[in-house]
Symmetry: C2
Subunit: 200 residues, 2 copies
């Protein structure tokens, strides 16, 4: 074995990542990670203290949070609020769709709290809030509440799709369905926004 502690640490961390991605968060444990990383499990204790420590380190050091495409590029000045909100939500969903690891973490977060799931949740939330704030959307606006609900809905649908278990035939991985869903959300946001303009 190569005698390089830093390399070994990394092997363990990426072992954890591969394991979660391939097998899901259930069954993640010291033995499984060590096996996946091709490393004796005692090294996990040596370098991370415990499984909890490993999860925390993973949360701290890995960039597991799906990166949102920078939306400023193709959103011209003066884009209406509802289009911005729509874009953020849909872009977020796309990012999640493309990251099996993130999907697994979102699901894990619903099941159990541990250093990884907690930090992951905070990270996601921070990203959301930033995306909104960067575009001047006030956090306690009704538009935000609505966006969060819809976003959660898409997350749920994506999670359902993972196991080929779509909800009400809404399989978000199918492009035509996604198109339809995105269209509905867009027009809903528009309607909500314009109605709000008048009634508030």
């Amino acid at each position: 074995m190569q005698r390089d502690s830093e390399k070994t640490r990394q092997r363990i961390l990426t072992g954890l990542e591969k394991l979660i991605t391939r097998e899901g968060f259930i069954g993640v444990g010291v033995n499984a990670v060590a096996r996946e990383a091709g490393v004796d499990k005692v090294l996990i204790y040596r370098y991370f203290g415990s499984m909890e420590g490993l999860l925390k380190a993973f949360a701290d050091e890995k960039k597991f949070c799906p990166r949102l495409k920078d939306l400023f590029d193709d959103m011209p000045e003066g884009t209406p609020l509802h289009e911005i909100a729509t874009r953020i939500v849909i872009e977020h969903a796309r990012a999640l769709q493309n990251s099996p690891l993130a999907q697994e973490l979102v699901c894990w977060e619903l099941t159990e709290l541990n250093p990884l799931t907690v930090l992951f949740g905070k990270e996601m939330e921070k990203g959301e809030l930033k995306a909104l704030a960067d575009r001047g959307i006030i956090p306690d606006d009704d538009v935000v509440t609505l966006s969060v609900i819809v976003l959660c809905g898409l997350q749920y649908l994506i999670l359902r799709g993972r196991n080929n278990n779509p909800m009400m035939d809404i399989d978000y991985s199918k492009p035509e369905i996604r198109k339809k869903v995105e269209k509905v959300i867009a027009s809903m946001m528009k309607a909500f926004f314009e109605a709000g303009e008048g009634s508030l």
Copy 2:
């Protein structure tokens, strides 16, 4: 021990139910169920063949699906479509909120497919479709798509709330938050519906 096979069967089934409700679906297994039911685990194999068989029997024989309050009572003739959709979604969320067992099953369904989660999912879906169809809402309407998305969003928020891990401070178990969310959904539905009337 009382020698009554039917009673023992029931003890096992309600043992499973109590176990899931109290401890969550993780860790559900032959040993745990037998312990909870105060029964030798060999009886599980005798009566249900396997853990899978027990799950299937549980899905078949227990009424775990949260019952929707009958909405016909206080919905007068001619209630507009968006109010109907809103009511269905919100009522569904309320039912889920009041059933820790159902919450656990919804979460389980996102994690793993087994006879119980699959049958549970079908049951829920059937309930949804019926609630919609009973009120003359066509399944492939955009209103349905939107309703499903919002419903999924609420389900997700409720699941997040379980472990005191609210999403974006939207803790759906808090009445004032729920009120606000319901209000947003109602006005959104109204706006979407009315906009649709004009544009379609």
